[in-house]
Symmetry: C2
Subunit: 244 residues, 2 copies
């Protein structure tokens, strides 16, 4: 993990603009020319500022999407102009990449500090992640919005999402190799890994859209168990959908 000591979700500050040092700016933000009545006080460290921006961007990209989420919107959340944001990140696209890397550390399927669990423990970890995510809507929303958009032509997050999926599938396949042994046919292992990721994302999506109708952790657990059992049954499993 990192500096991110505070709020586990992304900040719900924003009204208060910043949380940290005592004397910050006044900066009415709406008021047009806040030029001279600026700052007056300790400037926050650069890494701190950058992280603030990334967090705001994650929030904005999550709620509005990458295309519609504007730098102006993001900048306003951290009390600066969009030119200030560009000073730090150079371009909107670079900011998106920074968000993706940040999200990856502060982990969706990864876990902080500890090493990646193996075998059955990986599945247990996936379930626990789903349970945690139910309390971190912002994180899930950011991830879902960006992943969803990434299927469009030339989207800057596209390659990131693709390699993320590839890596996750590999991870799950490895776990299945440990659980089911090497005799499980490769294609079944791949189908199972694909299904695991698919179901996690798909259930999250439904949950985001209708939290009352979907129990994120329990639906996820059900699906994970189902897939796990099917994989363990290997080639000998029942085939109710085989056409006659």
């Amino acid at each position: 993990m990192q500096t991110n000591a505070g709020s586990d979700n992304f900040d719900r500050s924003k009204g208060a603009v910043d949380t940290a040092p005592a004397h910050s700016e006044v900066n009415t933000m709406a008021g047009g020319s806040a030029s001279t009545l600026r700052v007056r006080g300790a400037r926050k460290s650069t890494p701190e500022r950058r992280q603030e921006i990334v967090r705001a961007a994650a929030k904005t990209f999550g709620t509005k999407g990458y295309q519609k989420g504007s730098l102006i919107d993001i900048a306003a959340q951290v009390g600066m102009t969009h030119a200030g944001v560009l000073h730090h990140f150079g371009s909107k696209e670079a900011l998106l990449i920074a968000v993706l890397e940040y999200r990856d550390e502060e982990g969706l399927e990864t876990l902080s500090g500890q090493t990646m669990p193996l075998g059955l423990d990986l599945f247990l970890h996936l379930y626990r992640t789903a349970a945690e995510n139910a309390k971190r809507e912002g994180l899930v929303q950011t991830y879902a919005a960006i992943t969803g958009e990434s299927v469009t032509e030339g989207h800057p997050a596209r390659s990131f999402v693709i390699s993320r999926f590839t890596a996750l599938r590999g991870l799950i396949e490895d776990a299945l190799r440990l659980i089911c042994g090497p005799d499980l046919p490769d294609d079944i292992r791949t189908h199972a890994a694909t299904s695991v990721i698919g179901v996690m994302d798909g259930v999250q999506l439904q949950w985001l859209l209708d939290k009352e109708a979907v129990d994120l952790p329990e639906a996820t657990r059900f699906a994970l168990e189902a897939i796990l059992v099917a994989a363990m049954a290997g080639t000998k499993r029942p085939r109710p959908l085989t056409e006659t």
Copy 2:
């Protein structure tokens, strides 16, 4: 199906502008004032024109997303200006709704003509749909892009997607009631239905991003069978993820 006799995916015409009547316009489109050298020939019927537009919009919203896909882009595909498109649909949002309704008819999970299958047949139908979808990338792409975007604030497709999910869950729950009987606890039935939809969407997403790595029909079949078996096992199924 419908008029869409030609190319199975969505049109790759566009150069030819229209497929139907013999003598169409020349309309260089790039050339600034194509005003007077227009059309010259049987004008297409309004419903026909509208459908052309909707199909173009589906394509554009699929490849670029709703936010980034512009009316200008859509209009160009059917050989008119964006004002012409607005004449037919009034607003971009209304056009999106039209696309969603059209997609619903020309069916992703629904099937044209026949009545909705019940029980196990529904699952078989879902599998067949996945197999068909593997040949209809455009359709899947449109659906995925719009669904993905719909999680953002105030997105015009949001309520549509929500009610679609709700309806699908209900449908699958009904099928499970037939298959597993009324003794299956309600929550398990719901989890299973949620999982089915989730896995179908999630696998489609991975497939769109990496067609070589994902076998859409077979991964879907694997997951559907797994979920089905787990549901049939009801409360008595193995619980490998139960924490000790």
